[in-house]
């Protein structure tokens, strides 16, 4: 069982990510925006983070850049889960330190399979 943090300002999306990952046997924590996500990542060590891009207070790219500076998070997989599909946004995400990109809605099986692969 791995510790996973899901960050999204949409409660229903957080709920669906948590539902999918808990069903796969993981322990999931939730954060409502980038700032909340950064605080929670600083307070505990997560094995993987799934984050939205557009959020109030701090967006996903800013949050990833900040988390990468936290001790122990240099190689932690961080997946972007967003409605955005523009190449420049993906490029910005990669430069900030994202490991992968998922355009909403996500495929549950694919998400679980990739997470298993990333946190093996």
């Amino acid at each position: 069982m791995k510790q996973i943090l899901t960050v999204d300002d949409s409660g229903s999306v957080r709920q669906m990510v948590s539902f999918t990952l808990r069903k796969a046997g993981h322990e999931v924590s939730e954060a409502v925006d980038g700032k909340d996500g950064l605080t929670k990542a600083g307070g505990a060590k997560f094995d993987l983070i799934v984050t939205d891009l557009n959020m109030p207070n701090m967006d996903g790219i800013q949050m990833i850049a900040a988390i990468r500076k936290l001790p122990g998070y240099s190689f932690t997989p961080i997946l972007m889960l967003t409605t955005e599909s523009q190449a420049e946004k993906k490029d910005a995400g990669r430069k900030a330190g994202a490991t992968g990109w998922i355009v909403k809605p996500f495929n549950s099986d694919q998400l679980i399979a990739v997470i298993q692969k990333l946190i093996k």
């Binding site: 409660g11 709920q15 669906m16 523009q86 909403k104 809605p105 996500f106 549950s108």
Partner: protein, 565 residues
């Protein structure tokens, strides 16, 4: 301006309402999915019972039992066909034996006559003929012994013949009935095994059906998960329309009146397209949630719930088939006694014939020796022993006749051995020993069915739990309400905003012929495209600028894949 502000405000309220309502749906779904998961776990345990090793083993055991029972019946069917043939052959052989004993008696009488003649000649020859006294004695002894043997054999053969003829008459009446009965039993067995095969085929389909059901439910859960996320996309699209409306307001304030009217008109058209697309998307994911929730609901009436009773039913069916095979076996065994009675005793007769044959061979050798001795002795006496010489010649003829009878007895003996062998096969088919294979198969099947019963009892308990889980799931579904109705409110609010924007667009487009030439499509795209971040919105924007139909928006039931960097 007032209309745009109202539209922006309505859209904001709509986004909030949709978020709240989708939150309720998500909560209800998670609850349903949890109960569905519990039901699937129970069903998996049930299927585990069906798929267990003992289940596979009992299938093999029932098939072995079927094969053993078929062999058991077929051996008896073949044996009944051979019984009459064997008995008829035995009657013919016994008649032949009677004929042989007649020949032996004739030889005995002739030997007796020769013995008397020899004694007379011994008396006539006086001291010279005393050497032939032994010949007379031997001939008398031979005659007495053959007479006695022939009498014993004739009596035995006659008794046996009467017994066999009586059995033949009885079997002649009984065998057609026995044959018909065995054929009926075989047909009954075939039907019983067909039922058992079909039961197992039905059981073997359950895991496949379960896997299909699990796959279907997994797809439906994925569909709900994807649709609930689609709400987030819609929320962003609504925000983007709000941004667009803000831009339209700004263009009214900042631009020259004619260009501003043209851009505002084009911008309104884009927002109308976007709202129509949003309406289509909301209807799409509401319908997807409804369909998938309906699919999950259907599992309560699916075959999963019925697995336990089905397995129990199959076990009962197999047990009744086993009992039926046991009854068939008992019916077959009831024939054993009558067949054993009809065919028994032949071997003791054969023993008697064998002893008789051995003695006949010894007698034949002794007769030949007597004949040679008497001829040699008579030749020493010359003319005085002409009568003895004639007796010796007669002994030679009797010895030859006896030798012929002995050969025929040997042939009869050979036939009798063959008959004993075929009778042995028939008798074996109707003996207790022939049931061994069937009994072993029955014991193994009984043990296998006991294991199966154990599994089925477990399955029955799981089925009860599953019924409870189904009831809980149905109660949760009733609480969740109709998803379609839940979203009707959202759709009507989108319709209201759409109606007000369409009215505004019609008003501002009243002098469209005058402004049309001043619309710069590239400039309009530049102004509004920054608001649209999803591929779907960009497609809608292009359609609005072209004035073409709204693109068909495909809902992705399974969702999108992960792109790793």
């Amino acid at each position: 301006m007032g209309t745009l502000d109202r539209a922006r405000s309505d859209l904001q309220a709509l986004a909030l309402t949709a978020e709240t309502e989708i939150g309720r749906v998500a909560g209800a779904f998670e609850d349903l999915a949890g109960h569905t998961g519990a039901m699937l776990d129970l069903a998996a345990e049930l299927v585990g019972c069906v798929e267990s090793d003992s289940m596979g083993a009992v299938l093999n055991e029932v098939q072995s039992l079927g094969a053993a029972a078929r062999l058991f019946i077929q051996e008896r069917l073949q044996a009944t066909a051979g019984i009459l043939e064997t008995v008829t052959g035995e009657v013919a052989l016994l008649r032949h034996l009677a004929h042989l004993t007649q020949g032996q008696k004739s030889v005995a009488r002739e030997s007796n006559s020769l013995s008397v003649l020899t004694s007379i000649e011994v008396a006539r020859l006086g001291s010279v003929g005393s050497g032939f006294q032994y010949l007379a004695h031997e001939l008398a002894e031979f005659s007495r012994s053959v007479t006695e043997d022939a009498r014993v054999l004739a009596t035995e053969a006659d008794d046996r013949r009467q017994q066999v003829e009586e059995a033949r008459r009885a079997l002649g009446r009984e065998i057609p009935r026995m044959h018909a009965e065995f054929a009926r039993i075989e047909a009954g067995l075939g039907a019983a095994l067909a039922v058992a095969d079909s039961s197992f085929a039905e059981l073997s389909r359950i895991p496949v059906q379960f896997r299909q059901c699990v796959q279907e439910i997994a797809g439906q859960i994925a569909g709900v998960v994807a649709a609930i996320q689609a709400q987030d996309i819609t929320r962003q699209q609504i925000e983007h329309v709000q941004e667009g409306l803000t831009l339209i307001s700004a263009s009214f304030e900042d631009s020259a009146p004619e260009a501003a009217a043209a851009h505002a008109c084009a911008g309104l058209n884009i927002q109308i397209y976007q709202l129509r697309a949003i309406k289509q998307t909301v209807a799409g994911w509401a319908s997807q949630i409804q369909t998938c929730m309906g699919g999950i609901m259907r599992i309560s009436s699916s075959e999963l719930v019925a697995i336990g009773p089905v397995v129990l039913g199959q076990e009962r069916e197999l047990s009744s088939q086993l009992a039926r095979i046991e009854r068939l076996e008992q019916e077959c065994l009831s024939y054993n006694e009558s067949v054993q009675h009809a065919l028994g005793g032949l071997s003791s007769l054969m023993e008697l014939v064998r002893e008789h044959l051995d003695r006949s061979k010894a007698v034949r050798d002794r007769l030949q020796l007597l004949m040679f001795n008497s001829i040699v002795e008579a030749s020493h006496l010359g003319g005085d022993a002409d009568a003895i010489l004639a007796i010796s010649q007669s002994i030679k003829r009797v010895a030859e006749e006896w030798s012929g009878i002995t050969d025929q007895s040997a042939q009869a003996m050979q036939q009798m051995m063959e008959m004993v062998e075929s009778t042995g096969r028939v008798m074996h088919a109707f003996s207790d020993a022939s049931n061994d294979g069937l009994r072993t198969a029955q014991e193994q099947t009984r043990a296998g069915l006991e294991d199966l019963r154990g599994n089925v009892e477990t399955a029955g308990r799981q089925a009860l739990k599953m019924n409870d889980a189904t009831a809980r799931l149905q109660s949760r579904i009733a609480q969740a309400g109709d998803v379609g109705q839940l979203f009707d409110g959202c759709l009507s609010r989108v319709d209201a905003v759409l109606g007000s924007l369409e009215g505004l667009h019609r008003e501002s487009g009243a002098d469209l012929p005058r402004t049309r030439g001043r619309i710069d499509a590239a400039e309009v795209e530049r102004i509004f495209s920054s608001s649209y971040t999803t591929e779907m919105e960009r497609e809608v924007l292009r359609a609005a600028l072209r004035g073409g139909p709204l693109p068909s928006l495909q809902q992705q039931l399974g969702g999108n894949d992960v792109e790793l960097f």
